[in-house]
Amino acid sequence: MPLHLVETSDEDSFVSVAQHVSELLNEGQTRTALADTPATVFLNDCQNLVQEQRYGDYVSRMASQIDAVYSKMSEKEAECCVSVMVHAVGRVTAADQQQKAATTLAEALCKSDDHAEERLTALMSLYGILAGGQQQLAVLLAAARFAARNANKCRSAFSAAVRGKAPRLVSDWKLGPQEARGLYLALAAALRGAPDRPTTREHLSLVAQALSLPAGGDPQAPEVAEAAAGALADYLRSPSIFTLDLLPLPGVAALASHPKYGPLLALVKAVLAGDVAGTRSASTPAALEAAGAGVTPESLLSKARMTALLATCAAAGHGEVALSQLRQALEVEEDQVQSWIVRAIGAKLLEGRVDSVRGVLAVARSTHPAFGKEQWGRLAAQMAALKETVAAAAAAMGGGLSRCAFRLWHARFWEEQERRVGGGYGTYALQEGTRVG
């Protein structure tokens, strides 16, 4: 198990925690010497449960007090208590019991939203302590839902934890398409609307994976539409993402007929195609509203211009693009074209050199805004050319080898002779006064 507890004190930690928690129950209660306060009742219960190793029930008793724990104890103590509870879940031996205990604890943790980060951390530890895939999936989904609810506080933590792991989890747990899609969508919902680039990329990739699954579900289902719309809105809002591969997917294409998100899709299409005029016309109030906060017509136009630049350069491949052509595509003044190019190079979206004398941009590498059939076709042609080149080089090498092999043999022959005979001559010559011939 990836989480281990090593006891350092003489008392059993579960009992100590129970004791501590039980004291909370005493607050506000008048102490009477004779009657059993709820605290002592609680404590005795827990002690018995621990002694009998009925950790499942112990967890359920403790879980009921979680809210009190968080609100009344200090942070460190609360963390400690909850961790001990998590470990108690781990001590439950039977699998289904463990599942039940885990669910109880997870629900208790998710019940309220205060101390969201600590609760999320506790959910993560709970995830870590569980052994089986199914149980972990349940906890993960609960955590995702919780993170989505408390996006502001929990998003960065959650995204750091799950980034890049989703496909691996799907394959490890062997989830069916429906379950996988559910997982992707839940995770994506938790990551929506992030300001930083890695999270947005993760969000987009999760939505792409969810929507590209051949799920038996209905592409018009509301959660699909929500997810797709969320992804599109994120794409529009982010100042650093210029690639989008979602448009061909059926779930996204179905948005066209959606009353609320149809204009949004039209807007995204215009921006992605780099069509500046089209973007201007598509930035209707409805579309902007659907996109949500953070999207202004100006930002959309600049995004469209940058995308137009990238698209033109990508289409040129390894060649040259005339600056006049760029000016036309971007619909900006002539002197501003170079500043756009510089911006693109600075953002590492483009690599090339500007020749202002001839008025061209020599493109070395460019990011493709969309990677569709056209790009695949071009890629195929490039690969064929490369294959041919490599084969030619290999053939030339082989020919060169045979020409040179004879000469090497020639040289080696003489060396061999020298080695065999040279020693004899040397020793002979040392004897003075010898005459030969």
């Binding site: 090593v6 934890a161 799950v162 290999a394 060169g400 060396e415 002779q417 010559a429």
Partner: protein
């Protein structure tokens, strides 16, 4: 590995272990004392960003029982100080223990190490090979405390990987290719590990590249034809990679490639040819010297004059032929002179050319009068033909100039000895090259000129002769 643990926010710590550490731990485990179940020790390394790189380790003797655990702190401190002297940048990053699970005493040891470093890493190396797996796990710890009372220590697993340094990777690959094989078949000419072997490796690499390109092209073609749904991420990656390859038209590429291949082949051919001719020349030169009699010191040859003369003639004749063959102007000139019968005139002052073992040459020649230059040149040509390899022209020139200046002034304590001015030129290996001898050839006439002037300045009598003993030593191999 800990793929099942989701890291809580911020602590994206991961551990990278060098193989040396694992070997050391296993070695220590096999050498442990009888009563010990497990070995523990300290881990040394560096922390960069969120990655802890464990580079080194050492064992710390300890004693544990169910009640208590004792660790030899003095030993630990001493070893750490010694390691600091060797590698000051490595710090204590944690500790390791062998075994398959955590012991109760681990918490105490962890606490001890928390004083040595912040957030120590605990590494557990499974030497019992449970499940037929050699697993290495790393943990960080968290203390759970209620108020003042410490309840327990929680160990959270973190991702742990093995990494290879460049040196280790190169060494391993070299060992795998049988470089160190001492068997006689493997003792091929390592000196000849030239174009042929390199081109074989290059050919193999090209083959691999062609295979990879074919595989990628196949995938792309299947996407274009619609058989497979294309993954845009892969497509972008391929497109970016291809953008790195410089695009050349086919005829340009062929021309470029052929030119560079031919250059490489020319260089190889010339160097091998030179080597072959050196061997040939040596044999010829050796044969020539056998035909001359050996001269005692100070004596003049009589009975052996004719043979010596003919020997010189033969030598000169062969030098001439060689010169013709090789197109070396000097040899040609010398050859002609010798052919012209000058050799006979040299009889009283003949030289004794001896050839020692193939790796060293000593030439003694007595020079007199106007023939000193010829003999010197002969000597140098003779020696030059035995020297191969690259070297530094500049170094050679400086060295030679120094010798010339020094010797012209004369060796100390030998003023007026007059008779034999022995100049020993020990050539450093770096100087033993064909270029260097060329420069020497140009300097030697100057040298002899100076010598003779110096000799004439001394009190009269027969102009003394000076020995020039040139000792060229080839670098081994």
């Amino acid at each position: 590995m800990a793929s099942t643990v989701l890291m809580p926010s911020g602590s994206n710590v991961s551990v990278k272990v060098h193989p040396v550490v694992l070997f050391a731990i296993c070695d220590a485990y096999t050498r442990r004392k009888e009563h010990q179940d497990r070995v523990i020790g300290t881990l040394l390394g560096v922390v960069v960003d969120n990655v802890i790189e464990v580079k080194n380790c050492y064992v710390v003797p300890h004693n544990e029982s169910s009640e208590q655990v004792m660790v030899d702190v003095v030993h630990h401190k001493t070893m750490f100080d010694l390691h600091q002297k060797v590698a000051p940048h490595e710090a204590i990053v944690g500790w390791f223990a062998t075994g398959s699970e955590l012991y109760n005493s681990d918490a105490l040891i962890q606490e001890f190490y928390s004083k040595e470093s912040t957030h120590p890493v605990h590494m557990v190396v499974d030497t019992t090979l449970k499940d037929d797996k050699f697993s290495v796990q790393a943990y960080t710890s968290r203390t759970l405390a209620l108020g003042e009372k410490a309840l327990a220590t929680e160990f959270v697993e973190i991702p742990c990987d093995t990494i290879y340094g460049d040196i280790e990777r190169v060494g391993t690959e070299l060992m795998l290719t049988g470089f160190n094989d001492p068997s006689p078949e493997a003792k091929k000419d390592t000196a000849n590990k030239s174009f042929s072997e390199e081109s074989e490796t290059l050919g193999a690499s090209m083959g691999r590249l062609a295979e990879l390109v074919a595989r990628a092209a196949e995938y792309v073609d299947s996407v274009v034809s619609g058989k497979v749904a294309g993954d845009p991420a892969i497509g972008r990656y391929l497109a970016d990679t291809l953008a790195l390859v410089p695009h050349l038209a086919r005829p340009d590429f062929e021309r470029l490639f052929n030119e560079s291949v031919q250059d490489a082949m020319t260089a190889t051919y010339l160097s091998d040819l030179l080597r072959a001719h050196v061997a040939l020349a040596e044999r010829l030169g050796t044969a020539a010297c056998l035909l001359q009699s050996a001269h005692a010191d100070g004596g003049r040859s009589n009975g052996s004059d004719s043979s010596t003369g003919s020997g010189l003639l033969t030598c000169g004749w062969r030098a001439g032929i060689l010169g013709l063959l090789r197109g070396h102007v000097f040899s040609l000139r010398v050859g002609c002179w010798a052919l012209g019968g000058i050799g006979r005139l040299l009889l009283p002052y003949c030289s004794r050319l001896t050839t020692g073992c193939p790796t060293s040459v000593s030439v003694e020649c007595r020079t007199a009068g106007t023939w000193r230059r010829v003999i010197a040149v002969l000597a140098v040509v003779r020696c030059r033909s035995l020297i191969v390899a690259e070297g530094s022209l500049q170094k050679g020139q400086e060295f030679c100039r120094g010798i010339v200046r020094q010797r012209v002034r004369g060796p100390e304590g030998n003023e007026g000895a007059g008779m034999q001015d022995v100049m020993v030129m020990n050539m450093p290996p770096a100087c033993a090259n064909a270029q260097c001898f060329r420069c020497m050839m140009s300097l030697l006439p100057l040298f002899f000129g100076q010598l003779c002037r110096g000799e004439k300045a001394k009190e009269g009598g027969e102009p003394s002769f000076s020995y020039v003993r040139l000792l060229g030593r080839l670098a081994a191999g």
